[in-house]
């Protein structure tokens, strides 16, 4: 028995990607501008990791009424609160930003005096827990998180540093393995991906937290992976076809790797979609970010990173010396 194998991409594809480069640059520029606009106008929905505060996820016996919970929070003196259902109607997520010690000490039923900002957040948590336990019999606290103002500030710095450090190290590695023209192209493509991902978070208002930083770094790694594969082939083709115009060589290389690019992105996306659909509410945001990242990373390797080489001007004369 012989099964016909599926061809996801025609065997001898010859799309003219480079001819599309100006269109692609325009699309990317629009994407960048849109992302930056969304970031500055709408802003990110920072989780408590980065803005500090209290997060409580509960499961109630009976379906919980969000309005009732909101008014309970008002009663105990917490006004800036976000109450949403999480996964099902018996699961509720309550988040409160950092509260000042004065505001906390003014809450009804709070006996503590002379507390500092860090202690205040713990009081907020225990007050909410006390009120909820009174209201709902058999309530289960599935998740409690309190991030003090000091720690959240440090996490912002650590997260930003991590992304920048990763970009820089990759720039160095590509520089070391290829020439600087590739390095610049690859890192520009990465910055493109990072900005587009931040834009994605601003538009969807998905929570931006520590896992998101992990997702961004993974996207960076994945996109770089894709770019390197294309670049590797470009370099090989440059050595092989010394006289062909750069545009044509780039097209050949992209087309040769296209089948692989689509297959790998395909398998990765398939696995990630499984994670988004079945992995539970906690993994969902993470999976969505990665799905977006894989799509944008694949796009940027083909339509941004490779065409950028026509602009950075790859040296083609020294190739013979390098061929060992």
């Amino acid at each position: 028995m012989k099964l016909a194998l599926v061809r996801f991409i025609p065997t001898e594809s010859s799309f003219d990607f480079i001819r599309l480069r100006w269109a692609a640059f325009a699309v990317s520029a629009a994407l960048m501008l849109g992302s930056l606009a969304a970031f500055f106008v709408v802003g990110l929905n920072f989780g408590i990791d980065f803005r500090g505060g209290t997060l409580i996820e509960v499961q109630t016996q009976e379906p919980a009424d969000l309005g009732t919970i909101r008014s309970t929070m008002e009663e105990i003196g917490i006004s800036a609160v976000n109450v949403q259902s999480f996964g099902s109607d018996t699961e509720v997520l309550i988040t409160v930003g950092t509260m000042s010690p004065e505001a906390v000490m003014a809450m009804p039923g709070v006996e503590e005096t002379g507390i500092d900002e860090e202690q205040a957040q713990q009081v907020v948590r225990s007050q909410i827990q006390a009120a909820l336990s009174d209201q709902f019999e058999g309530i289960e606290y599935r998740r409690l998180e309190v991030v003090g103002p000091q720690v959240s500030g440090e996490l912002v710095v650590a997260g930003t540093t991590a992304v920048i450090a990763a970009l820089f190290l990759m720039l160095l590695y590509i520089w070391f393995r290829f020439e600087w023209q590739y390095s610049v192209g690859a890192v520009l493509a990465l910055i493109h991906d990072v900005i587009a991902t931040i834009g994605f978070f601003a538009v969807t208002q998905l929570e931006f937290n520590l896992s998101t930083i992990a997702a961004i770094l993974t996207i960076v790694g994945y996109s770089m992976n894709d770019t390197v594969v294309v670049y590797d082939r470009i370099r090989e083709k440059f050595r092989k076809f010394k006289t062909l115009p750069t545009e044509e060589v780039l097209n050949k290389a992209i087309n040769k790797t296209l089948s692989r690019t689509v297959l790998t992105s395909g398998t990765t996306l398939v696995a990630l979609i499984a994670m988004a659909l079945i992995g539970g509410a906690a993994l969902q945001g993470f999976a969505l970010a990665l799905i977006w990242g894989v799509v944008i990373g694949t796009y940027s390797s083909v339509f941004v990173a490779a065409p950028l080489l026509t602009l950075t001007g790859v040296k083609r004369t020294s190739d013979e010396d390098e061929e060992a």
Binding site: Q122, G159, A271
Partner: protein, 552 residues
Amino acid sequence: MLYFAPWKIALIVGAIVVGVLFSVPNFVPESVRLEQTSSEGEAPEPKGIWTILPHQTVNLGLDLRGGSHIVFEVDMEEVREERLTNLAEDVRNTLRTSPPIFSARPAVVGEEVVVRLSDAEDMDAAMARLRDLNEPVTTTGGGQGMAQTLDISRGEDGQTIRLSVTDAAFEAIQQRTVSQSINVIRRRIDSTGTTEPTIARQGDDRVLVQVPGESNPQRIIDLVGTAARLTFHMVESDVDIGPAGEARTPPGVMVLPYPGAAEFGASPYIAVQRRALITGDQLVDSSQQFQDGQVVVAFRFNTSGATAFGEATSQNVGRRFAVVLDGEVISAPRINSPILGGSGIIEGGFTVQSASDLANMLNAGALPASLTPVELRTVGPGLGQDSIEAGQTAVLIGFALVILFMLAAYGSFGVVSTVALLVNVVLILGALSGLQATLTLPGIGGIILTIGMAVDANVLIFERIREEYRNGRTVVNAVEIGYDRAFAAILDANVTTFIAASVLYMMGAGPVRGFAVTLGIGILTSVFTAFTFSRLLIAVWLRRSRPKTLAM
């Protein structure tokens, strides 16, 4: 290509066998692997064949098994103030030794101790004496460096002396305070019978406490965050105290809050002597007990405590003494007769839990400084279990889909990559178990991502083989060239992702670090399985069937 040196085959197969051995415990129920009889708080011993085989399973993070993760900050300001107060006291005592040098009372001003001599003539003598207070800083290793503990300088008016604690000395104090705190916390948490708590220093002045299975973080905060400085003081009954605790206290007397007094209609403040009769470290063997239907904390004194308490109670029959815990009076009983037995009880409206916690804290010793929780993450047992189940399903389904994809695209080569992928997941599991790295929820995400990405190396190789074959090479030749040419791209691609994983690991906060670990391990194992191992499989297959055409 077709030939693999026997030692190479042995190495590849050996590595896989080791990986499989390390992953096996995860599929065997605990009752088969481990002894049932183990004392509380200790990890159970392996039994039977598991004593020689690896027996450890994947270490689940708190977000999957449930538990509390709390970061405490040691209040170094308080320690600094205490050090300066003591220094002021030392200065006073040093100047007073005979022949005395007269001065105003040394005072703590900001971060300095300032003392003004009565007579400027004494300056040199005073400086000489105070220099004796200075000593080399003792580092945590026990060594002594060049640094001194104090900066001593003359004031501009020629009559005052300023003393401050050097940065080096303060750093050593900080080191010591954090280490002592960790020891006390460990003893306190161990005394509750919790299994496998993690207590570790974090940064300069923080302590991380992780307690698996504890879904009530307040209990840990109370247990760890209470200084538990217990002292006994004589009560001064003839001080008039206002309703808000204001009073004109004679020297050596202070007013403390007494919240429990409201119960019997007394003032919620009480005046006591500053000097403590007994301190908590003179107590031994504290425990929670019932007495006349009341929950109390019973204790015994050590020898010096028994003597001191015996003397004090003999001299003060009919008066009251106060039991003070962290600046609050918890009870103030009257001394009816001298207490010479060397043991006693503390009453104070305890619950069984609070009494046994206090007893544990007294046994573990007082904290050298206050601790404030600055970060708290607790996951209840239900959520952890749900996350594991959802994660497992997602892994299985992602896995199945990827396999279908590969079989559809590459046929028999797809079978090779499926086998390689299976081995890859087993190796990841084995590596996590063997290294006892922690698997977190984002870590499961990392595994799913790895499954998707692991086939990348195979795809690169197979696409290359196809291409070379179409260019007119023989099957064997195409396979060989395909593997060789694809290697550079595979290496570069994986190194870049590995860089991302390393950065994540170093930045490392809890769950994210777990993700970095699985991603990093996944990259290593997938290069091994998708490149080296799949090459061996294909070599074996080609040698057996010697195909003339390539079906892919």
